[in-house]
Amino acid sequence: MSASHPLPVLDRPTPTPPTDGGAACVALVGNPNAGKTTLFNRLTGLNAKTANFPGTTLECRLGHARVDGLALTLLDLPGLYGLTTGHLEEQLAADALVGRVPKLPHPDAAVVVVDATALDRHLYLASQVRELGVPTLIALNMADLARKQGIEIDLPALSAEFGCPVVAVSARTGEGIETLAHELQTLLNAEAHPPAPESITACTECDGCPHTARHRWAGEVSRRTSKTTRRSIRRATDAFDRFAVQPVFGVLLFAVIMAGLFVAIFWAASYPMDLIEAGVAQLGNAAGAVLPEGDVRSFVVDGVIAGVGSVIVFLPQICILFFGLTLLEDTGYLARAALVMDRLMVKVGLPGKAFVPMLSAHACAIPAIMSTRVIDSTRDRLLTILILPLLTCSARLPVYAMVTALLFADQPIIGGLVFFGAYALGILAALSVAFVFKRTILPGKPKPLIIELPDYRAPSLRTALLTTYDRGLVFLKQAGTIILLISVVLWVLATYPKLPEDQLAAVASPADAALVASLEAQDTDAAREELGLLHARYAVAHSFAGRLGRLVEPVFAPLGFDWQINIGVLSSFAAREVVVATLAIVYGLGEDAAEDTPTLTQTLAQQTRPDGTPVFNLATSLSLLVFFVLAMQCLPTQAVARRETGSWKWPLLQLGYMTALAYLAALATYQVTSLFMA
């Protein structure tokens, strides 16, 4: 077994200690949940960046710290249970430890972060790291918790067993950090490093099962060096877990916790979102006041500020979502939730761990895709990423709101049902697509769940805040740059070529041309304003976007869309929420009216086709709704999907299948509804 995955061996037996004043590199390694990231954050603060293992989406964090006069480069590796399992993640971490990963610094020492409250389990990995030949120090973390649980550990004895220094620390409270730094300094300056004790190397060399030998050794050492007087936390966790994973009660509990979290997110996010919206509007006004009227002003106000603003608005939701989820994960509950949900999810080929990302996707697909990192099998993770954008994110809500207001303004119950139906359609589509992909492009079963269920504990506010900051920044960087680009492109497409004022009468329909003539004759403020709207409407038709809208008319006509709706649909492929603003412009309302839904819906309801029937009849409206539920219309999401999957192949597949699905479903909706209405 382990023969097929031999322990990596260090090429350089004695790494050179740092001499030139350059910081020594120290890798933090340990089981999941040992507290590596907490320790890392405690040492580096915000002075860190996320790095990818070259060629993969696997991440580790690199940071700089100065502890007790000691300059360090710290490397926070992903959590692992062993070095020999042959998992990509564990192999990479093992390679990084011995400096075999290009672009990552060669560690001068390894700090094994060990959870002092679960020695048996954590000493297994510690002994493997000790054998690598890298100078090793064991940080017995969670000293505060261990004390509370009445666990006493004989540090000198443990140090003797491993033949390396052992320091008790608490990454959360900061206790023992100076001692850690001091011991690290000594370790880094040491001339020679003793090899691993024979009792450890014997585990690798013995003929029997190497896991057995090592686990046995770890258990033995744990027993010899520690004793526990109180087991109350463990007992309480055990008792609660008997219920928490029950098929019925467990699912209910999970539903209640998640519903609470989401209500909190929508509630708490609404305030900062209003603030941001107001801020963006004010910024637009201020810029509009400063800049001279013309293309530059239009570019800055309508293109850059409005475009980027429409995305920044979602930042509070994303931050609050990550904050809540990190707190929840910190308590240890999410591991139970994965176990509970696994049973239901496996039926459609998804892993239990996909459930939390699927819930998050109802706020926004971007953080949801980023949070699929908890899923350890690549296939399971890809499948989850592929279906996530089908779930109703909050950017679809303006569209849902518009359509329901258009159709059922005075029938709140039916309106509510349509809303619910749109959500349900998204979920149903996601599950069905997962089911189909499981049978086609991503065959196989989800990897069977084997998950550690740690003791419950109070979550750390600091960790949650740091994670939130980190994720928020990723969102701003990734989505912000791309959205800026899209906004600019969209603005250009909708602005050029321009329609000169005096050509309006020439391009307008005969009826409108007459209107133009009469308005021009009136020469009042009201007339001028109306003329302006009329011009805006024909200017859009005249622009590239308008021409494109007409060009694709044959494609979307079977769905009941006219060329104006087409512009909305095309522009919304970058970001779906812009459709409302686009429709407002193309139907000649001006940008401001989009804010004022009653005006917008009234105007939309009055639009007629050449034959005099309303544009937004039941069939077209439902078809539009279905299209927006199912279509992949969010470039930032695609950019994040590309980042997380490491290639454009998957986001393109996403775009392809979702567009096809949306088109076919909207086609069916329109045709069937028309049949019944006729």
Binding site: D120, H215, L453
Partner: protein, 101 residues
């Protein structure tokens, strides 16, 4: 001899010694009954994962919850797993008075 004693002291028991005759798969082990792993249906990735997580020959285990999604206690922590995976682990129940970790 000394080794056996020591192993006993930490709860690890030599396979085949002091075990009751009957062997069951882990998913059939009643909750609370202490047992020792006597075999893991070896060979693939899943088996390897189980072993790294502590479910390897000689490891003392007991179940906290049985069912389709079950919880077993091994190597000082709880593991949540599916009954289908647990079926591949064979255990031998131990006498109640033997040391439990």
């Amino acid at each position: 001899m000394v080794l056996t004693k020591r192993l006993r002291a930490v709860g690890y028991v030599r396979v085949n010694c002091n075990l009751s005759q009957e062997r069951v798969s882990l998913d059939r082990l009643p909750t609370g009954t202490p047992a020792v792993v006597v075999g893991v249906d070896a060979g693939d990735d899943d088996a390897e994962r189980l072993k790294v997580m502590g479910l390897c020959e000689g490891a003392p285990v007991h179940n906290l919850r049985n069912g389709n999604r079950m919880i077993t206690c091994v190597a000082g922590t709880r593991l949540g797993l599916t009954a289908a995976v647990a079926r591949r682990v064979t255990v031998a129940p131990r006498e109640q008075d033997e040391p439990t970790p």
